[in-house]
């Protein structure tokens, strides 16, 4: 407890934002992993669940989790219907008490074990943003076939050439932000979907925020369906060209 006591005294608190839609099966598991990760590492934390009116009862499970882990650790910020990711962050942040915000997917593709590494990285370089990356170091993916890897690498290469963003993983959504930085970035970002995460990094560069990177393993959806169709690719390209012409 001595070590964890010291970390608490540092005064930093980490608010994890979990936007959910139909994650009834995954939510308890990701929360369990998060709680264990923070308990073992000793950092001060809270988990904010932003459920967009899931018909599968995600909110009800979240309420059970709140009873188990306490309403100081699990905060519920539900919304009536499915709205954009950017507004979910704004909505979740309104009641966040942490000075750092961690965003991640609730579908278990992002493992909480990387969070202590994000935090160490942030402290090491006093970064404004730490981004998880699948594309460098020991980072990687699980459950992707050759076609998916090819599309992902190809899209990443084109993006690197056109935007030179100074970060290797632009479409990933496992990141740590200073709270005020995230607030400023969300205000400026207009894109949706994959492009939203990309725009956040591009705008961050424009505003001269510093970005650190931590390699992560991305384990594709254990429960539920993964999405990457023709539509996603077209909207990605549109978004990329928009950023290319406007930033």
């Amino acid at each position: 407890m001595a070590a964890s006591g010291n970390k608490r005294k540092s005064g930093d608190k980490y608010s994890v934002l979990l936007p959910t839609y139909n994650e009834r099966e995954n939510l308890p598991l990701i929360v369990w992993l998060l709680v264990r990760c923070f308990r073992d590492s000793g950092y001060n934390y809270e988990i904010i669940v932003i459920d967009d009116g899931s018909p599968d009862g995600t909110l009800e499970v979240a309420q059970q989790l709140q009873k188990i882990y306490g309403s100081d650790k699990i905060l519920l910020r539900p919304r009536a219907k499915k709205l954009g990711l950017g507004t979910a962050y704004v909505h979740g942040m309104q009641h966040a008490t942490g000075n750092f915000i961690i965003i991640m997917d609730a579908d278990l593709s992002h493992h909480p074990k990387f969070i202590p590494e994000f935090i160490r990285k942030q402290k090491e370089g006093s970064y404004d943003i730490v981004s998880g990356t699948r594309y460098s170091g020991n980072g990687g993916v699980y459950g992707w076939d050759l076609k998916r890897k090819l599309i992902s690498r190809g899209a990443n290469f084109v993006t690197q050439v056109l935007l030179r963003p100074g970060a290797s993983d632009l479409t990933g959504s496992f990141r740590l932000y200073r709270k005020d930085v995230l607030q400023k970035l969300v205000e400026r970002c207009v894109s949706k979907g994959y492009v939203f995460q990309m725009e956040m990094i591009v705008r961050a560069r424009q505003l001269n925020y510093t970005i650190g990177e931590v390699p992560i393993s991305f384990v594709d959806r254990v429960y539920g369906e993964s999405k990457l169709g023709g539509n996603e690719i077209v909207s990605f390209l549109k978004g990329l060209l928009t950023l290319f012409a406007t930033t």
Binding site: P28, Q64, I68, K149, L150, G154, S217, V219, F244
Partner: protein, 92 residues
């Protein structure tokens, strides 16, 4: 300056340099071997860039880590989490 403007600027500078030398607008009178090299240079550069792109993407696809261990570890932790949550009274 937007990235688009940066690209356009760089391309027009290079294009202007190429036109100037290629059509001998400054009267430099480059030696014939250089002139022969200069004429198809844009196409050469394009081909080199294309090869570089394909090689880079191919290499990165081939070396994309498959995180088998991470997936196995996650499965174990999921079972552990389910047992523990059931004990704590969670109804799935």
């Amino acid at each position: 300056m937007t990235k688009l403007a940066e690209w356009l600027l760089a391309l027009s500078v290079l294009g202007a340099a190429w036109v100037t030398l290629n059509f001998n607008l400054l009267g430099l009178d480059l030696p014939p071997p250089l002139q022969q090299l200069l004429w198809p240079l844009p196409v050469y550069l394009l081909v080199v860039f294309g090869c570089y792109s394909l090689a880079t993407i191919g290499y990165r696809v081939a070396t994309f880590n498959d995180c088998e261990d991470a997936a196995r570890e996650l499965q174990q932790q999921i079972s552990e989490a389910k047992r523990d949550l059931a004990l704590k009274g969670l109804k799935f």
